[in-house]
C-alpha cells in the first residue's frame, strides 16, 4: 500500500507485542523446530496476509499447478520422445537437421520471452486465446464448454512451459537411442536376422528409455520452479504465482509451505521414476 498506515501506527512496544505473539523474538532454530513439529501434524501455520491456513491456500492452488505442469509434461513426452527417436533413426538426414536446429532454438529461448511472444501474437493481435487466468467468469457455461474454456486458457502457458523441455528431451532421447543402437546386442539382434522394426522398437527403443525416466523425475521439480515465472506472466492462479507474491510481501509461512511442497515434489518425482523403471527394465523387478 502506498501510504502504508502501519508504519505510522505501530509504536516500538506494539511491534514488540506482535513479535512476541508471532514468536519472532525466539532464536531462529527454535522457530524452525517449532514450525517443523507443527508442519508434520499438517499445520503449516497461517498466512500473514490472508489469515487463512497455509494448507488451505496451497490446496486451493495445487490442482491448478498440477493441471498446468501435468499437461506440460504430457506434451513433452508426447513430442520430445518421438522427435528424438526419429532424429536418431534418421541420423544426419534433413529431418534430423531440421529437428536439431529447432531444438537449439527451443533450448536457447527463455520461457518468459516465449510467453510474451505468444501473448502478443495469439491474444493481442489475433485474439484467439485469452492471455490471463484459468477460466472465464460471469457466464454460466455447460460442463463441456467449461472444459473447453479452461483448455483455451491452458494452451499458451502449457506451450511456454513445455517448449524448452521438449527441446531438451528430444536431444536426450536422440543421443540415448543412438548409444543403444551402437551396442553389441543390437548388432547381435540384427545378425540373428530379426526384423529391423523389432530390433529398433523392442530392443533399442525400450533400453533407450531408461535414462529418460531419470529425466522425468528431474523434470517434475523443474516444471514447478518454471511455474513461478510462467504462472506470473499468465496470471495462472497456481502455487508458483502465490510463491512469488508471498516472497514479495514477506509472507513467510506461505513461502515455507510452498518451498516445502517443491521439495516434496522432487522426492515424489524421483519415487515415481523408480517405479517406472520396473515397467521398462525387468532386471530391476527381479532384484
Amino acid at each position: 500500500m502506498y501510504a502504508d498506515p502501519q508504519k505510522r501506527v505501530l509504536t516500538a512496544e506494539e511491534a514488540e507485542l506482535i513479535r512476541e505473539k508471532l514468536g519472532l523474538n525466539q532464536p531462529v532454530y527454535v522457530q524452525y523446530f517449532k514450525w517443523l513439529a507443527t508442519s508434520l501434524q499438517g499445520n503449516l501455520g497461517y498466512s500473514y496476509k490472508t489469515k487463512a491456513p497455509v494448507l488451505d491456500e496451497i490446496l486451493a492452488r495445487l490442482p491448478n499447478t498440477l493441471l498446468l505442469a501435468g499437461s506440460a509434461i504430457f506434451l513433452t513426452l508426447l513430442l520430445g520422445i518421438p522427435i528424438g527417436a526419429i532424429s536418431a533413426l534418421r541420423r544426419y538426414s534433413l529431418v534430423d537437421y531440421f529437428f536439431t536446429i529447432l531444438s537449439f532454438i527451443g533450448i536457447s529461448m527463455p520461457g518468459f520471452w516465449l510467453a510474451f511472444i505468444l501473448i502478443t501474437v495469439f491474444s493481442t493481435r489475433l485474439g484467439w486465446l485469452p492471455p490471463v487466468g484459468m477460466r472465464s467468469y460471469g457466464q454460466s457455461l455447460g460442463s463441456i464448454q467449461e472444459i473447453i474454456d479452461v483448455g483455451k486458457h491452458l494452451v499458451m502457458p502449457m506451450l511456454a512451459m513445455a517448449v524448452v523441455e521438449i527441446a531438451y528431451w528430444a536431444r536426450y532421447q536422440r543421443s540415448s537411442l543412438l548409444e543403444v543402437l551402437g551396442q553389441d546386442y543390437i548388432r547381435t539382434a540384427r545378425a540373428k536376422g530379426l526384423k529391423e522394426r523389432i530390433v529398433v522398437w523392442k530392443h533399442a527403443f525400450r533400453n533407450s528409455l531408461i535414462p529418460m525416466i531419470t529425466l522425468v523425475g528431474l523434470t517434475l521439480p523443474d516444471l514447478v520452479n518454471g511455474s513461478y515465472i510462467i504462472e506470473t506472466v499468465f496470471g495462472w492462479p497456481g502455487l508458483g504465482r502465490m510463491g512469488v507474491q508471498s516472497i514479495l510481501i514477506r509472507d513467510y509461512p506461505v513461502v515455507m509451505g510452498v518451498t516445502m511442497l517443491s521439495a516434496l515434489l522432487v522426492v515424489v518425482g524421483n519415487l515415481l521414476a523408480d517405479f517406472l523403471y520396473i515397467f521398462v527394465d525387468p532386471r530391476i523387478q527381479q532384484n
Binding site: 502506498y2 501506527v9 506494539e14 496476509k49 467468469y137
Partner: protein, 589 residues
C-alpha cells in the same frame, strides 16, 4: 503471356486492393500527438525529456451516444470484469484496509456515513439517515435507514451497529481492527454505542468530537452471522467471513471466491437505492502489470488500473478508453529536520528550487502527475494554490549560500559557517529510496549534483527499511523519498507528518507548537469552512518551513472498455468509493 490473362491478373490485383481498403474501419483517423518521453542518458545519471511525435488512431466518438442507447431497459444486465492488481487479504471490512479489498467493499459493504479518508470529502448519509448532537456535544443520536436488508435477507438494525462498534473496540479482535480502534475512543475511553430502538443508535463520547461521523466510516458487519456461528472477536480473522466471503448491504453480494483467481459478485436485487444495472461483477486477480496490460488489450477485463508507462501503447488502441483520475496521493522528500544539515528551512527551500519537479513527474509517471503548490493534497479543505517554488538552481545556490554553504573545490558545496556542521564538510547525504521510487531518486540526485550537492541513493526494500527505522527516537535517515496517500480532507491523516505531539512521532522529526495549536482547533470544530481556514493557515506555515518537500501529486490511469459507462463525476480520488454509485454502471450490449 496473352493480353487477356494480363488484364485478368490486373483486375484481380485491383479488386484485392479495393477489398482490403474497404475493410479498414472508416471512423478511425490517424492523428499526430506530441508526448513527452523521458530518456536516461547512457552512462550518466542524467534524465532528459524529449518531445516525440506519435501517430495514434483516434476513434471519432459519435455525439451523445449515451442518450441514444441509454434507455433503462437497454442498460439492464451484463458482466463487468475488473482487474485487481493484488490478491485479497480478506473480506471482513473491519479487519482490512488495503486497496484491493476497499474496491471490493465499495461494491459489497456500506458504512454509516461517507467521510474520512476512504470516501469523498462531503459527509454523506449512507446507512445512517440523519443524526443530531446534544448541546454539550457528547451524545449523538443516529437514525438508521429503515428497511435495509443484509445480503442473506436479515434486516439491518441498531443491534448490528452496536455489535460492529464493540468488535472494533475489542482489543481481542485481529490486528486489522487496531487501525480503526483510535477512532472509536477518545483519550483511551471507548465511545459507548447503545441501541435505543430498532432504528436508533446513541453514541456517547467522553469528550466532544465534532468530526465523529467522519472518523467512524468503517463498513458494517452483520451481528447475526457472528452470533449464529459462534465466532468470537478473536476468531474473526480466521473465520470464513474473512477468508472466503462476506455479507454486506451494498449493491452487489459476494457469491464466490476462488482463491487467487477471482471474486464473483452478483447484483443485490433488494438494494435500497435500487437494483443495479449489472448482473455480475467479476474481480479478477492479475498481479503482474504486463499480464494486466495483456488482459486489458485483449478485452478480458473491462476496467483496470494501468501503469503510466503503458499509456502511449494504450492510446493507440481504439478499443480502450482511458480515465485519468487526480488521486489523493503525493510523493515527497521527507527531511529529517533534526540533522544539522537540514535544520535550516532555507536548505529545504533550496531543495525545492533545485529539483526540477516536472522531470520527476515525467520520469516517475510519464507525465501523469501535477506539480504540488500546497503542502497537503488538493482534496484538503481550504486548498488554494500557494506561491510556487519555481525550478531555479541559482536561487537554490543563493539560499544555500545564505545558510553558509559555499562552493568548494571541484564544484561541490562545503560548509563555511553552518550551525552544527564542522567547517569544510562537503554537502553529502544519504537519500533513502524505496525501489519503486528509484526513478524519483535518480532525478533528484542528478538535479542536486548540478548545484554541487551529493546525494547517495540508498535503495532498500520497504520491510528492511522499516526494520531499521521503526519507532526510533533519533531517526537514522537524512532524507527519504516518501510521501503518502488517501489521507483525507480534514487533515487528520497528516498527523504522522506534521503534528504528532512530539518530534519523535513525526516522520520528519518536526515539531512546531504553533502548528500543533492550530491542529487542536481544527479537530475541535466540525464546520468545514472554519476547518478550511485553519488548515490553510497551517499550510502557509508548512509551505514556508517545508519539513516535507512535495514533489508530485499522482494521477491514476484506468483503462476501460469503451462500452462501459461510468459517469466521470462518479469517480472519486478516494480508494473505497472509486465508484460513487456502482449500481449505475452499465455496459452496452
Amino acid at each position: 503471356m496473352s493480353k487477356k490473362r494480363l488484364i485478368l491478373i490486373l483486375f484481380l490485383i485491383v479488386s484485392t486492393i479495393s477489398l482490403l481498403t474497404a475493410c479498414q474501419p472508416a471512423e478511425v483517423t490517424p492523428e499526430t500527438i506530441t508526448i513527452i518521453e523521458t530518456v536516461i542518458v547512457e552512462g550518466t545519471p542524467q534524465v532528459i525529456e524529449k518531445e516525440v511525435q506519435v501517430t495514434v488512431a483516434v476513434t471519432a466518438v459519435p455525439e451523445e451516444p449515451a442518450e441514444e442507447v441509454g434507455e433503462e431497459s437497454d442498460r439492464q444486465g451484463g458482466v463487468f470484469t475488473w482487474g485487481m492488481p493484488d490478491e485479497f487479504p480478506g473480506f471482513n471490512p473491519i479487519l482490512n484496509n488495503n486497496y484491493t479489498e476497499l474496491w471490493l467493499f465499495g461494491l459489497t459493504s456500506e458504512p454509516l456515513t461517507w467521510g474520512g479518508e476512504n470516501y469523498p470529502t462531503e459527509l454523506k448519509p449512507i446507512l445512517a439517515e440523519s443524526w443530531e448532537v446534544s448541546e454539550d456535544g457528547l451524545v449523538w443520536t443516529i437514525h438508521l435507514r429503515q428497511g435495509v436488508v443484509w445480503h442473506d435477507g436479515v434486516e439491518f438494525t441498531a443491534d448490528d451497529v452496536v455489535f460492529w462498534a464493540n468488535a472494533i473496540q475489542d482489543p481481542e479482535t485481529g490486528e486489522g481492527a487496531a487501525w480503526w480502534r483510535p477512532r472509536f475512543e477518545t483519550a483511551g475511553v471507548p465511545h459507548t454505542f447503545e441501541a435505543v430502538d430498532k432504528y436508533t443508535v446513541q453514541v456517547t463520547t467522553a469528550e466532544p468530537i465534532p468530526s465523529l461521523l467522519n472518523q467512524i466510516c468503517v463498513p458494517l458487519i452483520p451481528k447475526h452471522y457472528f452470533e449464529e456461528n459462534g465466532v468470537s472477536n478473536a476468531d474473526m480473522a480466521n473465520d470464513p467471513f474473512n477468508t472466503e466471503i462476506n455479507i454486506g448491504t451494498g449493491p452487489f453480494k459476494m457469491v464466490e471466491y476462488r482463491r487467487g483467481e477471482a471474486a464473483v459478485l452478483e447484483a443485490n436485487p433488494d438494494y435500497w437505492r435500487g437494483k443495479p444495472y449489472l448482473d455480475t461483477v467479476v474481480l479478477r486477480v492479475i498481479p503482474d502489470p504486463t499480464a494486466m496490460l495483456a488482459a486489458v488489450q485483449s478485452g478480458e477485463v473491462d476496467w483496470a488500473q494501468v501503469e503510466p508507462q503503458y499509456v502511449p501503447q494504450l492510446l493507440q488502441n481504439p478499443n480502450i478508453e482511458l480515465h485519468i483520475l487526480k488521486m489523493d496521493s503525493f510523493r515527497a522528500l521527507e527531511f529529517n529536520v533534526k540533522k544539522p544539515m537540514f535544520a535550516d528551512k532555507r536548505v529545504r527551500q533550496a531543495f525545492m528550487h533545485a529539483v526540477d519537479r516536472q522531470s520527476v513527474i515525467n520520469a516517475y509517471v510519464m507525465g501523469y502527475g501535477e506539480i504540488p503548490d500546497y503542502p497537503f493534497t488538493h482534496v484538503v479543505y481550504g486548498y488554494e494554490p500557494l506561491p510556487q517554488y519555481e525550478y531555479d538552481p541559482d536561487k537554490a545556490l543563493e539560499l544555500l549560500a545564505e545558510v553558509g554553504w559555499v562552493e568548494g573545490p571541484n564544484g561541490t558545496l562545503v560548509a563555511e559557517n553552518v550551525e552544527g556542521v564542522p567547517a569544510g564538510t562537503p554537502f553529502e547525504f544519504t537519500l533513502d529510496t524505496p525501489p519503486r521510487y528509484q526513478a524519483i531518486g535518480t532525478v533528484v540526485q542528478a538535479n542536486l549534483a548540478d548545484i554541487g550537492v551529493k546525494a547517495n541513493m540508498l535503495i532498500q526494500d520497504y520491510p528492511t527499511w522499516l526494520a531499521e527505522n521503526l519507532g526510533k527516537e533519533d531517526k537514522p535517515y537524512d532524507v527519504v523519498v516518501g510521501g503518502g496517500g488517501w489521507l483525507g480532507s480534514d487533515g487528520a491523516g497528516y498527523s504522522w507528518a506534521y503534528y504528532a505531539g512530539s518530534a519523535t512521532n513525526s516522520q520528519m522529526s518536526y515539531y512546531n507548537p504553533e502548528v500543533e495549536g492550530l491542529w487542536a482547533q481544527v479537530t475541535a470544530t466540525d464546520d468545514k469552512e472554519v476547518k478550511g481556514e485553519l488548515l490553510r493557515e497551517i499550510a502557509v506555515i508548512l509551505w514556508d518551513e517545508l519539513p516535507m518537500a512535495p514533489l508530485l501529486w499522482q494521477n491514476w490511469v484506468f483503462a476501460a472498455n469503451p462500452k462501459v459507462h461510468v459517469e466521470e463525476t462518479e469517480l472519486n480520488p478516494n480508494l473505497f468509493a472509486l465508484f460513487a454509485k456502482p449500481e449505475t454502471i452499465w455496459i452496452e450490449k
